[in-house]
């Protein structure tokens, strides 16, 4: 019986786990909870860190980690709720101070609690992937204080009010501001952005919208920009003083948008103070300010640049098309140079040497300079003027500066070949008349042209210089081999290579016997030293110095042209000559003769002969006598030829025609070059390529190109494609 009973006994399983006294956990937690209370009540001096740490450790060790974790959160939450009530009760100005004070207290308490719970932080939280103590403490502050309904908006409004006050000139406690905003940053980027930064930016946007409207109604452009600049620096300073550095970009973009981008057009076009006004009056400071502010917004600089460009074009167009202003070529070019200097200075001082502005300046100049077809001639004349007399007394460096500026204008020219034509003519005149002031300046300009346009452009110009040099040597050789010629008139011959010099038809005339003898001697000397050459006399380009004795014995040396010399020499043999007689004796063409007589007889102070009857123009029935009463305070008298410095209308036409003639082979050469490599090309493409290839020299006219193509087809260089008439085919 008893045995059976014994069998029925249940054997209880041995308890492996030692269960810790559940009260132990509660007791331990109470100790810790009390400590947290004391810490929050600033009464922690009596606490033993070792004891608290050990207790927290034991709780985790004995698997009460969760109880400890939730307990700490609950206790902290209740404390923070209490604190938020205290903060809420704070009145007026002390509100922020109270928040700041409580925040500092919380931070200190949090640090101490984290110390106590260090073991939990390291083990329990780590393995369960819960939020660590410190970030949890921050989250609790965020949720229970900052987001507490009665604090949330009040805090934000207080902060925004302070900013507003500071904007209107009041002094605020920046230190306190910084601490409170630092709190937002410590709570995490999203808290700072959502709870402060975003509303702050919205409020700022509203503020500047109103203010900019006010300013734009009451200020002129310069003042407005000054105010905008001031606001911008203020906001940047504000960020440095009490906001997160990352906010700088955002707040400045708000100011930029409200103060600049939204009023851009109105500012630029503001009457009597806008951009054009600033440009006209060289207001470097205002322009610089506008540049720096507009640079910050999209399309800001484009707006400024566009207005500047259209103003420049308008101004330039007036400048070059005003017939009054193109009367004097030198002044015309000088004005262009002045404008360029002006805008160069504006771009360098106010626009920070911005490349895009420089390009706008260049393209504007290019645009309007070419509006006046005579620009190439005028620029050459300007150079001529400078090289004839204008450079005297100017240092080499300054010469370079002037030449560089001229080159700048030259670069804008589309018809560079026209310039070349004129330049060649003017250079020839300068060289032959010996009037160039500085050989160095001449050569320097040629080098510049060479670097700009290449060897071909200047080879003929250089040839002219070489001719001058060789002629000197030839003259030395001539007089060396004819020592007997040291008596009597001196002949100086400049041998010009055909082709290098501007071609002018050789005008024949009868030279006085004394001279023609010499000429013959030179001819035989020259042809004796050089074989296979032909000399022809360009009497229309020569000059002569002759000695004259007038009625009362006044002696003068007259500097005259070859034609004038021929005429004057006639008076050695007779006192009075009629126009017809002179014409017959000299065989000078009528137009040249008339001009020559006019300059001898009709220019006041230089009238070495007298015309009968007295009048301005030369008639075929006039007769001439030596002016015995001629006087001059100078021994040497230079008798100019009456030449229009600027080209006359027919001459202009003629030059134009010559240029057009010269272009034809160049266009043809370009077409052949292109077709040789491409074999087949359609009309539009060929025009485009030719234009592009010739651009450095001139702007080819499409109709002219078409004519050249036709001509090449006629000469069997090209043919039209039999199926597609628009296609051209190269014939090898």
């Amino acid at each position: 019986m008893s045995n059976q009973k014994k069998r029925n006994f249940q054997i209880e399983a041995f308890k492996h786990r030692v269960v810790v006294d559940p009260k132990y956990a509660d007791k331990t937690w109470q100790i810790l909870e009390r400590a947290i209370h004391q810490i929050y009540n600033q009464d922690a001096s009596g606490l033993s860190f070792e004891e608290l740490y050990r207790n927290a450790y034991n709780m985790v060790l004995h698997k009460f980690g969760e109880k400890l974790y939730t307990g700490f959160i609950a206790t902290m939450t209740s404390h923070l709720k209490e604190k938020s009530k205290l903060i809420e009760a704070a009145q007026g100005g002390s509100f922020l101070e109270e928040i700041n004070k409580k925040w500092n207290e919380h931070n200190k308490a949090l640090e101490m609690i984290r110390d106590i719970l260090m073991y939990m932080d390291r083990t329990y939280i780590e393995s369960t992937k819960k939020t660590h103590v410190h970030p949890m403490g921050l989250n609790l502050w965020r949720d229970n204080v900052v987001h507490f309904t009665k604090i949330h908006t009040r805090l934000l409004n207080t902060l925004l009010d302070l900013v507003q006050k500071e904007r209107t000139g009041e002094v605020i406690d920046r230190g306190l501001m910084r601490n409170v905003i630092k709190m937002f940053m410590d709570l995490g980027e999203s808290v700072y952005q959502e709870d402060f930064e975003k509303p702050f930016l919205d409020a700022s946007s509203e503020f500047y919208k109103v203010e900019s409207q006010e300013f734009i109604e009451s200020c002129d452009c310069g003042d407005y920009l000054k105010k905008a600049e001031k606001r911008l620096t203020e906001e940047i300073e504000r960020v440095a003083h009490y906001l997160d550095a990352k906010s700088e970009e955002k707040i400045t973009s708000v100011v930029e948008k409200e103060m600049i981008a939204n009023h851009m057009q109105r500012l630029v076009h503001m009457e009597n103070s806008g951009l054009v006004n600033m440009l006209l009056n060289d207001k470097y400071d205002d322009l610089g300010r506008m540049y720096n502010l507009f640079r910050r917004v999209t399309n800001g600089l484009v707006t400024v640049r566009d207005v500047m460009t259209s103003h420049l074009r308008e101004m330039g167009k007036q400048l070059v098309t005003d017939p009054e202003k193109s009367k004097d070529p030198v002044e015309f070019v000088q004005r262009l140079l002045d404008e360029r200097d002006k805008y160069d200075k504006i771009i360098s001082t106010a626009f920070g040497n911005d490349k895009t502005f420089q390009n706008a300046l260049n393209s504007s100049f290019e645009y309007f300079i070419n509006l006046n077809a005579r620009s190439p001639e005028f620029i050459s004349l300007f150079v001529d003027d400078k090289l004839r007399k204008g450079l005297k007394g100017i240092a080499d460096v300054d010469v370079e500066v002037i030449l560089d500026k001229v080159m700048m204008l030259f670069r804008y020219l589309q018809e560079k070949d026209v310039f070349e034509k004129y330049y060649k003519q003017h250079l020839a005149k300068r060289l032959l008349s010996g009037k160039t002031v500085s050989d160095e300046a001449e050569r320097s300009l040629i080098v510049k042209l060479k670097t700009e346009c290449g060897y071909q452009f200047t080879s003929k110009l250089e040839g002219m210089f070489t001719d001058m040099k060789t002629s000197e040597d030839t003259m030395r050789g001539f007089y060396g081999s004819h020592p007997e010629l040291s008596e009597g008139p001196t002949l100086i011959v400049q041998v010009l290579t055909t082709g290098s010099w501007p071609t002018q038809p050789a005008v024949p005339c009868n030279l006085p016997a004394e001279v023609s003898v010499l000429c013959e001697k030179f001819r035989s000397y020259y042809l004796g030293t050089h074989t296979g050459r032909r000399l022809s006399w360009q009497t229309n380009m020569g000059t002569a110095d002759i000695k004259a004795i007038f009625g009362k014995g006044q002696k003068h040396e007259l500097n005259v042209s070859t034609f004038q010399m021929c005429v004057l020499m006639l008076f050695n043999n007779s006192d009075r000559l009629s126009y017809k007689e002179i014409e017959q004796a000299t065989e000078i063409p009528a137009a040249d003769l008339k001009r020559c007589l006019q300059s001898l007889a009709c220019v006041k102070g230089k009238n070495v002969i007298k015309k009968e009857p007295m009048s301005k123009d030369i008639g075929e029935e006039d007769s001439f006598v030596v002016n015995d009463k001629f006087t001059s305070k100078f021994y040497k008298v230079k008798i100019g030829t009456v030449v229009a410095q600027k080209e006359t209308e027919p001459e202009k036409q003629e030059t134009r025609q010559r240029v057009e003639e010269d272009r034809k082979p160049q266009i043809e050469a370009a077409i052949v070059r292109i077709m040789k490599s491409r074999k087949i090309l359609d009309h539009n493409n060929i025009i485009a390529e030719v234009t592009k290839q010739l651009q450095p020299r001139f702007l080819a006219n499409p109709t002219e190109i078409k004519k050249r193509i036709e001509s090449l087809i006629e000469r069997d260089f090209l043919e039209r494609d039999s199926t597609d008439r628009k296609l051209y085919r190269y014939l090898a």
């Binding site: 922690a44 001096s45 009596g46 606490l47 033993s48 860190f49 070792e50 740490y53 050990r54 450790y57 200190k108 640090e111 101490m112 110390d115 106590i116 260090m118 073991y119 390291r122 083990t123 780590e126 393995s127």
Partner: protein
Amino acid sequence: MGLSNDRIRFNVGGRIFETTATTLANAGRGSFFGALFDENWNLSQPEDLFIDRNPDCFAVLLDLLRTGDLNIPPNIPERLLHKEAMFYGLIDHLRTAKWGPFDGNRLHLSRSVTGIAPGDGTAIRAGPDGGCCVAHGSVVHVFDWMLEEHPTINLDYQRVNDVGWIDSGNIVLSACERLGRGDGGMGLFSSSSGELRYKFQVSHDNQIKSYSAGALSFSPDSKIFTSCKGRSNEYGIGVWDQITGKQLDFFYESPGWSLGDADKLQWLSGKNCLLVATLFPRKDNCYISLLDFRDKNMVWSWSDIGFLATAEEKRVRDAIAMEESNSICVVNEFEDLGFIDMRMDGGGSSVRWSSRSRLMKSKMPDEPCYPKLALHEGQLFSSMNDSISVFCGSDWVLTSRLKRSYGGSICDFSIGGDRLFALHSEENVFDVWETLPPPII
């Protein structure tokens, strides 16, 4: 507690210790002592500061703070010391002092850990902080650096093919699929708790498919690569993001080439390529290729098809790319090392076998294991039977051999966290090799 000239007296578990605040400052702010001496805490207690802990361990840890060296007397169990170090927040100090920076020629066997797994081990992988995990059949045993074992991990108890550490807290496991159930594949686990964080899905044409995951590799830009075998023709290399767990890419294998069966994957940062090696006997031939995922291009490939008639015994058993020398090191079953030049097109180039053949053919053990290769900071490691050879220098000279008397052949080994772990095929044991701390002078 004396505070004069920064001297401090402790009463630890009844024994008096005297030290300085300067010494204790070595513990750092994040430790018990760092908090204890923080000005927040009022320390003006007249008597010695009492700490209710083991005095013997305190002595060891105090010396650790004084000298930076760890000396554990034989009477102190390591586990107790670790626990004490955890209490004081000095566990990281202890970990740093325990063993020195890895050097294959100065390794010492520090411990052998015997497991209880029923079968052979598949793989052992060293973790980044000195822990390791061992795959046995369908279960993976996880050990932290203290060699304390954590809960095992498994993926639906399917056979594990490979494991790998993403970081010290996360392990990726690849396993066979169970047909029709969607089990297996690849999963990410917590190393400390063993819980499954998420499974990696593979989808083809927007349809999620079950698959077997093979070899694993990770890239520094948080990608996971694995060789995949799907139900139909989804063979190839899958790519996932470690952080989001999303599939990023899939490199399908081309006909006549093997990727999905790959034994070994290795991410090459310098070349921005993945090395994929499928080796005999998984397939009849050996295939090694480099894949560029940016343009889905196989930039280099090598195979032993057609080479075997003459060299029957030279079967490639493991391969490892050495980016610095632009070559791939391979090993055959007799531990002969061979090299393939990655600069030449692999199609024509043959393996340059080193003449170092150690004539071990005669004394092969009863249960041989295939040799394995590893590369660590310019040192090449190769396992064969019961030992691991260390090769150094540009000519790969044999400089050290790690060998232990029991446990049988080494079936896998791994280097990481400045430790080398070697898994033996018998007796379920793995060895931990460490470099000793630096010398005193």
